[in-house]
Amino acid sequence: MSDEIAYATIRELGTRYRSRQLSPVEVTQALLARIEKHDPVLSAFVTLTADRARADARAAEEALRGGDARPLLGIPVAHKDIYLTRGIRTTGGSALLADWVPDDDAACVRRWQDAGTVLLGKLITHEFALGLQFPGHRFKPARNPWNLDHIPGGSSSGSGAALAAGLVTGATGSDTGGSIRGPAAFCGIVGLKPTYGRASRAGVLTLSWTLDHTGPMARTVEDCAYLLQAMAGHDAADPASSRAPVDDYVAALGRDVRGLRIGVPRNYFFEGVDPEVERAFEAALGTLRGLGAEVRDVQIPSLAATHSFLLIMLAEAFAYHERDLREHPELYGDVLRERLLAGALVTASEYTQAQRIRAGICAETAAVLRDVDVLATPTTPKPATPFALATDPEFGFPRSNMPPFNITGMPALALPCGFSSSGLPLSLQLAGRPFEEATVLRVGHAYEQATPWHTRRPRV
């Protein structure tokens, strides 16, 4: 199969399906062959569901013959392995759940299935969405298709690697402190963390209840819009799920960005930023100005306290894992176990104060968003981390540009904005007001259409 098909967009596949130039069965077979060829090196998949994929593809073909025009019909996808899948093992990237087969689907899995997608399999995640698999772990970590010696980011590591390598057309991710946007940035793809409550988390393994988000990952902004459309909406099974109306995300992409106000928070997001990242970011701002957007600097001083979000995440993660940690500590990776146990040491007072700091960040960010429509920042301060550094047990939690939007719950999009001199992808982060995914996607799409970055492919 040509790269052209492996990297086709959702719109391109749909057009070719409906004109009978291509069929979902052909595309599925070709992607399965591509996975067989490349995944032994990339380790993006933890479970391949070839028979299920062929059955889904045949069903899509039958529906197409009947005139079914759903945009995701026959689109090959895979799910991060913390999304529960009925009858298909869901490991959480962990030895603890290595053989667990759930008897129900996560809500988002069901919604994509109802939209007619083809399920290729499950994608490796950092262990319980928090801990990179170190050597000796039950599961191998995914590798970055742009450079196998670098991590693809995490925790939605398999999703990022599989998309960059042209193994799937769309994938789910989850994001507690950047786990959709980080792999999107490191793998040169697009990832959207929607507003807290926009997409259901029912049936997705928990890391931290008040910070967890589900969302789509793809290779273009338009593909993310299609995939979000099929995920978004109220779900009574997720207590945080919102009843806010769902916009038409794809239709919103047709509008230009003239007159839109883009704020650049000059504090926090530029501390320790690699010069190459900064140059690519400033060039992206220039492109957006050229498209007619008004770019201005803003300040959000309270973001200096962003790192306190770790107290919330670790305390909530320990609460979720406490019983298994006490009963089966040996089934957790060493570094992950230490991090989770660190959460046990956070006092109630410290957790409460961290939530108060969070409320202050939310209020200050909301005030800034009265004067601008979107915030723009580099997604990550540096390109993809080498494995040699990431697997150092002392590596810890580096400062990150992504948690501010888990803290506030605002929608945040990561998309390619260049490459480092060593050939690693660089990324632009765009964040908007709650439930204004359409605006964020619109700005991202306008930028993407004006630049070539999303058309570059790694040599796999």
């Binding site: 507003t195 807290y196 409550g197 008040t210 945080a240 919102s242 009843r243 806010a244 109306p245 200096a304 306290a305 790192h307 306190s308 979000f309 770790l310 107290l311 670790l314 940690l325 230490e338 991090r339 146990l341 660190a342 046990a344 040491l345 956070v346 006092t347 410290e350 409460t352 104060q353 961290a354 939530q355 108060r356 700091i357 969070r358 409320a359 202050g360 939310c362 209020a363 960010t365 909301a366 005030a367 968003l369 047990p393 002392e394 810890g396 939690f397 506030t408 719950g409 605002m410 007001r433 709650p434 439930f435």
Partner: protein, 67 residues
């Protein structure tokens, strides 16, 4: 409770005893650093002097004061 802004190793050990968890002694320094970094702003906060901010976070579609 220590008045220091830095969490000490003894404080980490005391907290471990209080909650009944065990972390290998050679990894305590890493855990101390992880928590100390995260605690910097919490420990700098004078909760009596700062204005009242409830710990609740709301996510309203109407775009109120809080995202």
């Amino acid at each position: 409770m220590s008045e220091s802004k830095e969490l000490t190793l003894d404080e980490v050990r005391a907290r471990m005893r209080a909650v009944g968890v065990t972390i290998a002694e050679n990894r305590l320094a890493m855990v101390r650093k992880l928590l100390s970094d995260a605690l910097v702003h919490v420990r700098a906060l004078d909760s009596r002097a700062s204005k009242t901010v409830e710990p609740a976070v709301r996510f309203g579609a109407g775009g109120g004061d809080q995202p």
